[in-house]
Symmetry: C2
DNA sequence: ACGTTAAATTTTGTATACAAATAGAGCAGC
DNA sequence: GCTGCTCTATTTGTATACAAAATTTAACGT
């Protein structure tokens, strides 16, 4: 239990990601501090870190609020993700080991099985979202570019907030799973153009799926 | 003179960028604080911000050091810049106004004139580097994507450190200026594929120019 | 001499105290 | 009733104090 600042950073972060802290809600340092039984100092540090990641907005002398995003922001984010994640695929493909391919195939399988079960969406959706993050994260890791990973990480926070609420249509879910399979197949074939193209399409399709639906608020 | 933290942030930042603080030098909070006549608190905040931008590395309980980069890091950075700046060109081209094109042409002209003068490289290089940053920054601004701008900004710090020391070969300089001209011409023609392709080549050429030369340390 | 361990010093992390700035309530004037 | 002001109360920004951790120094034994 090393650093308090890190702990409170994670707490506030998950509070935002789960929607516990609603959009553009004001984050008063002292309130957060007393509610966690600590002093303002680590809270302040955590808020600045969250600001650097784009999860909160801070104005000088006026404090921090939970960041909010409009449709234009989401378009930007998904466009950039489509470019960067496709690049990750391009880099990962020639480096992919048999074990890594197998790992990705396993994630695919798990997601396909989850998709077939008749679980309520309350339990199924988070499980799918978690696997999805693992799949994308693994490919980024395989790309062996730390900066690329950092860049994508900063972009991914906002979509994660949405994923908790968003219910994908059955067709979109199927398409998404097929994309994953196709990406792995392309990587197995050593075809980085194929792999990166599917990844690009995959993220752009997700963009339309999310921007097409009405706001859940 | 609002916030001390911002002032000290900028001071440390330029100290790193000008090479005044050498590579992997340790940054002790108290030392920096007394040398600027302030307390540790704003210094600490500044260091965390610099860490978020990748200019310093901080380890828990072990403080901050000036970040250092190897050849692999530089490759990563230039590869990503080539992708993102080319994307900026793609977005900017259909949006470019006549005034913006003219502005870019002016920057081209100034750089061409500077290149012809027989000034010592000590004065000429910073002037060229400044214009270069203006040129690229303008195109990013024209892309109208704040997130794209932020992403590129985080990548650009390290190359800026190099630009201060690096002496370009005359041929590389000429090629660079021709690239700039060609980019503007492509934008004027409304051809975003052309424009983004030249930009991609432009950044990749810069990568080879920098990675090809031996280390100045 | 060398390496290992133990104190001493330095340095980071957190808490508290105070100053400066902002936001909000209440009131005057129109 | 609405606008603009002043004064109060929050809230942020900075300084200082203290505790925990790490680094350095010194001593000790083999």
């Amino acid at each position: 239990m090393a650093k308090i600042a890190t702990t409170v950073y994670e707490q506030i972060r998950t509070a935002i990601l789960t929607g516990e802290l609603s959009n553009s809600e004001r984050l008063v340092e002292e309130d957060l501090a007393v509610s966690m039984g600590i002093s303002r100092t680590p809270v302040r540090e955590a808020l600045r870190r969250l600001a650097a990641e784009g999860l909160v907005d801070v104005s000088p002398n006026r404090g921090a609020r939970v960041a909010e995003w409009d449709v234009h922001d989401l378009r930007e984010i998904f466009d950039l993700r489509s470019i960067l994640e496709s690049h990750a695929c391009e880099l990962a493909t020639p480096r992919a080991s048999a074990a890594e391919i197998e790992f990705l195939e396993n994630v695919c399988l798990e997601m396909e099985e989850l998709a077939q079960t008749e679980l309520s969406s309350e339990t199924r959706l988070p499980a799918l979202a978690a696997r999805n993050r693992i799949f994308h994260g693994k490919i980024i890791e395989m790309s062996n570019s730390t900066r690329l990973g950092l860049l994508i990480e900063t972009l991914i926070h906002v979509p994660i907030v949405m994923q908790t609420y968003k219910v994908y249509s059955p067709e979109a879910l199927q398409r998404s799973l097929h994309h994953h399979r196709e990406i792995v197949n392309a990587m197995k074939a050593g075809d980085e153009v194929w792999a990166s193209s599917v990844m690009r399409a995959h993220v752009l399709a997700a963009r339309e799926e999310i921007l097409g639906q009405p706001d859940p608020a």
